[in-house]
């Protein structure tokens, strides 16, 4: 007989809620970027509207985790998984907010001729999605190696962030008529850089719950 079978199931349920929240967030990020690229206002609005699903899931995970702690009195790895789920869900919620910010930027840029091609924002978005998947896989599988890979990818995002910043500011000095769009793209650049940071936090929290000690992947 498996001891604590019910508790094991609840832990799995908690993890699956994290994955669900994650999937929603990745979709939101991809759609927001799609809206920016294709200048699709309806899609941008949909991203903003659907953000409350992520917020609700975060709340649900919080309540579920608190109830599990009260009921099961977990220790050691079990406690770290539950605390990890709490912290990770709040990081995911922040990431989803950046998706919303990108969608808002898309709306503010509107139908102006797009200047996305002078940036590396698309690459940053692609890497962020990859990081995201690795971080969550690392959490659900308890795989420390994947958590470390996330941190290596973050360095790439940082490099793209710096070079995109330079390109956009240089372009701005020559084309002041595009200020509105360039400022929005600078903001998107920042949102993507912050997204990668928060994903790295997820990886750090995951590494903590696997090993029981803190890693600083952001430095």
């Amino acid at each position: 007989m498996v001891i604590r079978e019910n508790f094991e199931k609840k832990l799995e349920e908690l993890k699956s809620k994290i994955i669900e929240m994650e999937e929603l967030t990745i979709t939101s990020l991809k759609r927001a970027f799609e809206a920016l690229k294709l200048q699709d206002m309806e899609l941008a609005l949909r991203v903003i509207e659907e953000d409350n699903e992520v917020d609700n899931l975060e709340l649900e995970i919080n309540q579920f985790a608190i109830w599990l702690m009260a009921k099961e009195q977990p220790v050691a790895i079990d406690l770290r998984v539950i605390i990890g789920a709490l912290k990770i869900s709040s990081e995911i919620e922040r990431i989803a907010d950046f998706g919303v910010n990108i969608a808002k930027a898309a709306i503010k840029i509107g139908k102006e001729d797009t200047l996305l091609n002078i940036t590396e924002l698309e690459e940053m978005k692609e890497i962020s999605v990859q990081m995201h998947r690795k971080a969550i896989q690392s959490f659900t599988e308890g795989n420390l190696l994947l958590a470390k890979e996330v941190s290596a990818l973050e360095d790439k995002v940082d490099d793209y962030y710096a070079s995109t910043y330079k390109k956009l500011t240089a372009y701005l000095s020559e084309h002041p008529e595009n200020t509105n769009q360039l400022v929005q793209l600078l903001l998107v650049n920042r949102y993507l850089e912050r997204t990668a940071d928060h994903i790295t936090n997820i990886a750090e929290n995951t590494a903590y719950l696997i090993k029981g000690k803190m890693y600083d992947f952001n430095s």
Binding site: I3, R4, F7, Q73, P74, V75, A76, I77, D78, L79, R80, K211, G212, K213
Partner: protein, 282 residues
């Protein structure tokens, strides 16, 4: 106060082989705080059956040390070796050293003196069928204290020390068996304190108590460690986590892991410890 290194010297060094003394110095490197009890290479047999295998650990002074592990793992047997309660069982054979304050307790035959120094509280309250006062005064009277004032003082101090004085001060002369289970257990603790021991052993002292009485006894244990070294066997993981400073995990007569309690319950080193504290077996 006896530092670890001093109590190590308390072992008859002529009996120690070179590798043993190396092993001891390694232990003293790990733990730099005062040790009250030092156990080394303890084996215990009930007849042919071996119940403890090479148990070594240092119990720190004025700390609470919890012994945890599944039923039959040897933790109560180990606890009882610390005041030679196993001597009462036929066919028990013990080898190894238990050194308390520098003295090997199996080297002398004065178990009365040992049990004065190392008191014990059991799973079920076991008060004598006499008044509360007489229960607590029993030990001191056996030691020859007859002066009424002195006895009164000991009884009051002991009952206060066990956080039960206010509840029983107006009924000291009534039968102790009329008290609730939780109160009886605290009177048992008072009876142990009355002997002015250094060490108090507790064998699942709250397993027969209701939740509130349990919490009262836990509070009491936390306060008592200011004055006493406490070793407690408990099946309640949360209790071990709440009240102890050090935890030893026993399995099949061996110590699997012995470390700070917060380490045992947050990031244990051994997978078997993790499986036990998270309730995956046992």
């Amino acid at each position: 106060m006896v530092m670890t290194t001093i109590s190590v010297k308390g072992i008859n060094e002529s009996k120690m082989k070179g590798n043993q003394s190396k092993a001891i110095s390694k232990i003293s490197e790990d733990i730099q705080v005062p040790s009250k009890i030092m156990v080394k290479d303890l084996d215990l047999f009930y007849g042919e059956k071996q119940a403890l295998y090479g148990v070594s650990l240092q119990i720190q002074e004025k700390k609470v040390t919890a012994l945890i592990g599944p039923s039959g793992c040897g933790k109560s047997t180990f606890l009882r070796t610390l005041n030679r309660m196993n001597d009462l069982i036929d066919g028990v054979k013990i080898t190894g050293d238990i050194v308390i304050d520098g003295e090997n307790i199996y080297a002398s035959n004065d178990v009365i003196k040992l049990r004065t120094k190392v008191g014990m509280v059991f799973q079920k309250p076991n008060l004598f069928p006499m008044s509360i006062y007489d229960n607590v005064a029993y030990g001191p009277r056996m030691q020859g204290i007859k002066n009424k004032k002195e006895l009164n003082k000991i009884v009051e101090e002991s009952l206060r020390g066990a956080a039960i004085w206010d509840e029983v001060k107006d009924r000291l002369k009534t039968s102790a068996l009329g008290l609730s289970g939780g109160q009886q257990q605290r009177v048992c603790i008072a009876r142990a304190i009355a002997m002015k021991p250094d060490v108090i052993l507790m064998d699942e002292p709250t397993s027969a108590l209701d939740p509130i009485s349990t919490l009262k006894v836990e509070e009491l244990i936390t306060k008592m460690k200011e004055d006493y070294t406490i070793v407690i066997v408990t099946h309640n993981m949360q209790q071990a986590a709440r009240i102890s400073d050090k935890t030893a995990f026993f399995l099949n007569g061996e110590i699997v892991e012995y470390d700070n309690t917060n380490k045992i319950f947050s990031t244990p080193e051994d997978q078997r410890t993790e499986d036990y504290v998270t309730g995956r077996f046992g």
